[in-house]
Amino acid sequence: MAAYLLRRAGQSLLTLVLATIVVFAGVRALPGDPALALAGEERDAATLAAIRAKYGLDDSVIEQYWAYVTNTFQGDLGRSIRTGIPVRDMIVGALPVTLELSLLALVIASILGLLTGMLAAVRRGGPSEWLANGIALLGLSIPHFWLGLMAILWLSVGLGLFPASGHVPLLSDPVANLHHMVMPAVILGTGLAAVIMRQTRSSMLEALGEDYVRTARAKGLRERQVVGVHALRNSLIVVVTIVGLQLGNLISGAVVTEQIFGLPGFGKLTIDSVFQRDYPVIQAVVLITATAYIVINFAIDLLYSVIDPRIRVAGGAD
């Protein structure tokens, strides 16, 4: 167990280092002088010199990389070349919105996906399976940003049920916050729900054919316990893997969803920074996303060992 996690930690760290190199190299790949790009509008000699000194642009590439990494890990992500605000502050301000949106979407998707997936597996061959499969296929084929537009058009503009855009901080007014968040979270969750549903269905069908399920039935357990406890717990291992792999899609989806619903989150920051060519912000956003992805997937590995005792106790299961 310890050896396995240590090795996974090592792999994650290596991926993280590679990611910093990619981001670092990405900014150097910008056409022209990076100092000009990083300086933005203020292109007077003094500013350029300051930037050159700060990023050590006249040093060797390796020294520059080292300076970049140490700055980043000290929390110094530079300043926005548009507003002059420290990038760190911009991100700290935007992150809670995105976290709330993503978590809500994840919860909605998990509940929807697991329930319909189980239903489709248990009612095999019946109309419920047919319906669940059909909805999942639609969920995979609908462009979610368009679904968002349709929801705004129908539920906000047409029926006036939800606000079409805007955001209220969770702490200042939780009810109003949820009112603004529900629709984006549902829209963001639908794609993931479809993926979870399909995976749950297939791993559930497999689990239901296992000998231990027969044992559970032979004990005289209720069908609810047989399916909901014995079969589900084993299916979850596969489902969790899929959720980990879908994390990238969830992050991408959050960016688009925030853009459509005008939520002032990380995604909106990302898109705005591209159109404003705000390179320090882009650099930080890309690196933070990659880091989040790597860290969360490592956390999912830890989660496996909670769900699957074969990994927890036996150690180095693979």
């Binding site: 296992e210 027969r214 044992t215 004990k219 357990l221 209720r222 316990q225 014995h230 005792p309």
Partner: protein, 335 residues
């Protein structure tokens, strides 16, 4: 106590209907070990599963299986749930895959208790310790927190037995309980079964292809072939004077323990068990039978008492033949 009459099981699959069990009737008496014997695919496991309808939904079961006045073959799912584990419990062949890998032994055994008894979790846990103790698992209390993959096959099979006897079932169905285990471990498991029968008075239905095991623990034997019972009687009587050519072949096919272990099957009789899509009016063994006559392929032989026990054969072996052929034990020493 358990009375099975004309139990018939058919499966409807892609290749049409398969009749796996054909009008099987037998009784299980309290405290006895009844063994159901036959090659793989003869319908013995399906018969066992059909008792409490543990079969997939596409299986069709007719006939009756009456336990203490309740016909299990016609019972509601609700009734069946109360019967499973409480009155009729199972031990399966594959100890490796029959326990759920993600739950502790304690949880799985406790669950078997809680499924039928209104007791507190701590009482159930105490009971789990006693059960693990009963089936001979050392350090039972510490084992509650252990996962199945940390145990050997023999130990897992003991856990399966502990779960099965958790509610003192009337009938314990053991489906090839020792097949997947080493010979040395087998003996231990059989001891546990024998011990439980004596201590708890549980009737045991032992399903096996291993005649050594049958001779070791069974009181009575039912021999099945292609979904039908071909011979049935007391163990000693039937082994001493087999009437059906198939039984005779089975007994002749037990040369020694080593060969049996190697093949794991009774390969000595030429041919394979046929897969039946219908219930033919003929002896299903006729194709492989050295004594077959025209009558065998035209009429199904009834299960009738022939000097000592019942057999379904038009040309049963006589006592004289059995005497000249020698007893199975002697034959096996020849081989």
């Amino acid at each position: 106590m358990l009375s099975v009459r004309d139990l018939t099981v058919s499966f409807t699959g892609e290749e049409g209907v398969v009749c796996a069990v054909d009008r099987v009737s037998f009784d299980v008496r309290a405290g006895e070990v009844l063994s159901v014997v036959g090659e793989s695919g003869c319908g013995k496991s399906v018969t066992a599963m059909a008792l409490t309808r543990l079969l997939p939904p596409y299986a069709r079961v007719t006939g009756s299986a009456v336990l203490d006045g309740v016909d299990l073959a016609a019972a509601s799912p609700r009734t069946l749930r109360h019967v499973r584990g409480k009155d009729v419990a199972y031990v399966f062949q594959e100890p490796m895959s029959s326990l759920n890998p993600v739950f502790t032994l304690g949880r799985q055994v406790t669950e078997a208790v809680l499924a039928h008894e209104q007791v507190s979790r701590s009482t159930a846990e105490q009971r789990a310790v006693e059960l693990l103790d009963l089936v001979g698992i050392p350090g039972a209390r510490d084992r509650l927190r252990v996962y199945p993959h940390q145990l050997s096959g023999g130990m897992r099979q003991r856990v399966m037995i502990a779960m099965a006897v958790a509610c003192n079932p009337r009938v314990l169905v053991a489906d090839e309980p020792t097949t997947a285990l080493d010979v040395t471990v087998q003996a231990g498991i059989l001891d546990v079964l024998r011990d439980l029968r004596t201590r708890l008075g549980t009737a045991v239905v032992l399903i096996t292809h291993d005649l050594g095991v049958v001779a070791d623990v069974a009181d009575r034997v039912v021999v099945m072939y292609a979904g039908r019972i071909v011979e049935r009687g007391e163990v000693r009587e039937l082994f001493r004077r087999p009437r059906h050519p198939y039984t005779k072949g089975l007994l002749g096919a037990v040369p020694n323990a080593e060969a049996r272990e190697r093949s794991g099957r009774l390969l000595e009789i030429p041919g394979l068990v046929p897969v039946l899509s219908e219930q033919p009016d003929a002896c299903t063994f006729a194709d492989r039978c050295p004594r077959a006559s025209a009558r065998c392929t035209e009429h199904e032989p009834p299960l009738e008492n022939v000097a000592g026990h019942e057999v379904a054969c038009w040309h049963p072996h006589t006592d004289d033949e059995n005497a000249t052929a020698g007893r199975p034990a002697e034959r096996s020493s020849d081989a």
